[in-house]
Amino acid sequence: MAAAAERTESWTPAMDISETGEGFCVRLDLAGVAREDMEVMVSEQALVISGLRRLPEPEGLALSRREREYGRFRRTVELPAGADRGALSAALRDGVLEVRVGKRAGEMPKRVEIKAAAQEEPPSAGVGSSEDGK
């Protein structure tokens, strides 16, 4: 899963991408971003997470020190071939946005049944069989 940070945006939230047997998980640090100020979009090849952290303007308080970043953000995650765009979910908890993408059944590792080797029936007479020219 490849990811890109757009430099035109004013800040870039930290992001982790992981994979389990069932799917992919993208987590972003979005402390203090309101749920209604974030958006998760999915296209054919990519997941785009964007939004806005609003600059607080507390009344009667003067800013003394600023380390936090505000404004718009956008992160793009390329979806791998096995991702199932139909199996997407997103949840926000304690300032962490977690987006889960399932894997298509066809891409899940499958167990191959191992059969005991059976006595093969000789193939019925066919064109070009050497026995024809006896």
């Binding site: 899963m1 982790d16 992981s18 402390a31 971003v33 507390p58 003394s64 304690d94 300032g95």
Partner: protein, 150 residues
């Protein structure tokens, strides 16, 4: 003319204090980096000052209340805790990319004004710790630990 001790760092330090406002971080004159050599990380914060209080907002997304500790005296503050690696529903995870910080963090400050630790409030909401420290004229009590509310 009275003799004055020569302190070459004094001007620099005063400049630094002005930039930092009422908060001065322990050890920051020497080294400031998002991740310290001990592997600790530094959650970013904003500080506001009003006529009656000092308000601090520190980002700590995904940090649980029980993993967070706030210690305050009249003139010093320490915020420490840790962020744990979240489990993906108990399934083993293979990471393709890790940008987020995990593990312990700690930041200590000296406060340029006196505050009242017993009237201080702490709240952890949407991954942001908000501390409200009421200013005080008198000297405060010994260091106390503040209860963080959800």
């Amino acid at each position: 003319m009275p003799l004055r001790p020569r302190r070459p760092l004094e001007a620099f330090q005063r400049l630094r204090e002005a930039a930092d406002g009422v908060f001065r971080e322990a050890g920051e004159l020497y080294f400031q980096s998002p991740v310290s050599p001990e592997g600790r990380w530094t959650p970013p914060m904003d500080v506001y000052e009003g006529a009656e209080s000092i308000v601090l907002e520190m980002e700590m997304p995904g940090v649980r209340r029980e993993d967070l500790e706030v210690r305050l005296s009249a003139n010093s503050l320490t915020i420490s805790g840790q962020r744990r690696l979240a489990a993906a529903g108990g399934q083993p995870e293979r990471f393709h990319r890790i940008e987020r910080n995990y593990g312990p963090f700690s930041r200590s400050f000296s406060i340029g004004v006196s505050v009242e630790p017993e009237r201080a409030g702490a709240k952890l909401e949407d991954g942001v710790l908000r501390l409200e420290l009421p200013k005080s004229d008198r000297g405060g009590p010994q260091q106390i630990e503040i209860e963080v509310a959800d």
